[in-house]
């Protein structure tokens, strides 16, 4: 490798690191916003003022007001708590469940428990995208937690597969055999040796999925299968006000832009994390 290419690669690495810092800070701001949303709202997001209903954006109400005269900016900010918090909860649930199942299957490797669990995950993968999630959420009767459960049901197999294949690969490594020979307990091998070595690709996948999951969760809420009004959640806010698209478009579009911007920040962060961890995938 010539001197020039090495320098070029170094520059690229630095470039990725800068991007990583920028997007991580942006995502951090979003997280802080959702954590402290209650203190950030300029007005009371649930306070109705019918004399000032459907007011266009102005200095007093930067994003206008909805049909009950509630301040849209405050509603979008308070909605970030539900939307962002529940997305992260969903990603966490899916990652942990998938990893636990996957590591277990990989460690068993070929025994009947492995086969059965993998066939079950095949069953879930056979359903197209949101169809199964819609049905699960519909049957369970909507609500934010049921929506999270429904999306978790269709998303865990992907993580189980990644974790399983990684575990299978690690299992054959000499250091694991050495650990087994040295008499380490299975729990110690799994948690101290295998997990730290396979967690990288799983976390990258999780980071890349945050945006998609946020959109899917908002989609379910939009269909009335997630958070329910009057609770402020971006998807259900849009669905709730979609008839206003002709007369007061800002009411419908403001939460939409909020979803768009958050998804974009998390997608950018995910892409950058992937580039940082694995520069080849570009």
């Amino acid at each position: 490798m010539s001197q020039v290419t090495v320098r070029k690669q170094k520059r690229k690495k630095n470039h990725v690191r800068t991007r990583l810092i920028v997007f991580a800070v942006l995502a951090g701001i979003l997280l802080l916003c959702s954590l402290f949303s209650a203190y950030l709202t300029p007005c009371d997001p649930y306070l109705q003022d019918l004399s000032n209903a459907k007011a266009a954006p102005s200095a007093a109400h930067l994003l206008g007001t909805d049909r009950y005269g509630r301040d849209m900016l405050s509603r979008v900010i308070i909605g970030s708590r539900t939307s962002i918090y529940s997305t992260l909860l969903l990603v966490a649930v899916v990652t942990v469940t998938g990893t636990v199942v996957g590591v277990f299957c990989g460690w068993q490797g070929g025994k009947w428990t492995d086969t059965v669990l993998m066939r079950i995950s095949d069953m879930f993968l056979a359903f197209p995208g949101l169809v199964f999630a819609m049905a699960v959420a519909g049957v369970l009767g909507g609500g934010l937690h049921n929506a999270i459960l429904a999306l978790a049901a269709i998303s865990w197999p992907k993580y189980a597969r990644i974790a399983r294949s990684q575990t299978l690969a690690q299992k054959e490594m000499p250091y694991i055999r050495a650990a087994v020979l040295a008499g380490s307990s299975t729990a110690k091998i799994l948690f101290h040796h295998i997990l730290p070595n396979i967690i990288g690709p799983i976390l990258v996948t999780a980071m890349l999925d945050i945006g998609t999951m946020m959109m899917e969760l908002a989609g379910l809420s939009f269909l009335g299968l997630g958070a329910k009004p009057p609770a402020a959640e971006w998807g259900s806010m849009m669905s709730d006000t979609r008839s206003l698209i002709t007369t007061a478009p800002w009411v419908t579009l403001a939460p939409g832009f909020a979803i768009f911007l958050s998804v974009m920040v998390f997608n950018l962060l995910g892409d950058t994390v992937r580039d940082y961890v694995d520069p080849k995938s570009r």
């Binding site: 056979a126 995208g129 199964f132 049905a135």
Partner: protein, 314 residues
């Protein structure tokens, strides 16, 4: 090849059993009793004896597995029970709405091809130039917008501000299909364009491209005659795979634009807790999805001589 086809068909059997079993079990999760639901919706308060008699008549007192098998038998005969709400035959209702959804899906795929393949190739050829950055930026934006937001944005801009197209569809004519198709095509193209770009770039990086150039073959000739021909296989496969997810993704768009297809039917059924209809939707969408994937797989094998003739790929 024949052995491969046979094996794929045999593999289909457990998957189909899995799909039907999960869909059936799902409705048991509902926790509400079908008979109770039927009478409640009819507005009649009935005694426990009548409910029990009706349950026996419908076979709901039998063990779970037996119920599943008789339900599966009905499924094979196109008998999926009657709707709790309208009282109509579920399977016939579903089939009558399916063509509209297939039309929407087909048109969206067509629009996606027209938009994303040329742009994807362009981005790959102009790699790391301003055109590439612009196209990647646009696809990134499209990727970060949920379908319903694109739909409402289009409604506001194209239908209301500019008045070019009708806001909601009346029937399934081409003109009323324009908005939902555009919405789906925008979401799909942004994802797909990236994949086309990657597939073409992958091919452009191969040695035969350099070889052709060294011999003085024109870039455009290499691109059209060799690179695109080789990349097309991956492109077609990726597209076919996305049809399945599109089938599931139309539900929200259909209900926004009042498109009278199975997606809207399902959304309405979910709102009204019409379980047999939800069940039919889930089972049939999954079956269609599995079949589309199977055909894709077989096509891929039939089209690629390296696989067809049993030569291992590098």
């Amino acid at each position: 090849m024949r052995r491969y086809v046979l094996r794929r068909f045999l593999q289909l059997i457990p998957v189909l059993i899995g799909i039907t079993f999960l869909s059936f079990a799902l409705m048991r999760l509902a926790g509400s009793d079908a008979v109770q639901e039927l009478y409640t919706n009819a507005g009649a308060a009935v005694s426990q004896e009548i409910i029990d008699a009706r349950r026996a008549e419908l076979g709901l007192d039998k063990p779970f597995l037996q119920q599943y098998l008789s339900w599966l038998g009905g499924l094979l005969h196109g008998d999926m029970g009657i709707s709790y709400i309208s009282g109509r035959d579920v399977f016939r209702t579903f089939i009558s709405k399916l063509p509209a959804t297939l039309e929407l899906t087909g048109l969206s795929v067509l629009a996606t091809i027209v938009i994303s393949i040329p742009l994807g190739i362009l981005a790959a050829v102009k790699r790391d130039r301003i055109t590439d950055y612009l196209l990647r930026f646009l696809s990134f934006i499209g990727n970060s917008m949920p379908g319903f937001f694109v739909a409402l944005l289009l409604m506001q801009i194209v239908a209301i501000r500019l008045g070019w197209l009708p806001v909601i569809s009346t029937g399934t004519s081409l003109k009323s299909a324009a908005m939902p198709v555009l919405t789906l095509a925008i979401s799909m193209s942004s994802k797909y364009m990236r994949q086309v770009r990657a597939a073409v770039l992958d091919e452009l990086n191969k040695e035969y491209v350099d070889g052709g150039r060294a011999r003085g073959v024109k870039d455009s000739t290499i691109l059209i005659k060799s690179v695109l021909r080789a990349a097309m296989l991956t492109i077609i496969t990726l597209l076919a795979l996305s049809i399945g997810s599109l089938l599931g993704g139309t539900a929200i768009i259909e209900s926004i634009f009042m498109w009278d297809g199975v997606g809207k039917l399902a959304v309405d059924a979910i709102t009204m807790r019409d379980y047999p209809l939800i069940q039919a939707y889930v089972v049939w969408m999954a079956i269609i999805y599995v079949l589309v994937n199977l055909v894709t797989d077989l096509l891929y094998h039939a089209l690629d001589p390296r696989i067809r003739l049993g030569v291992s790929r590098q």
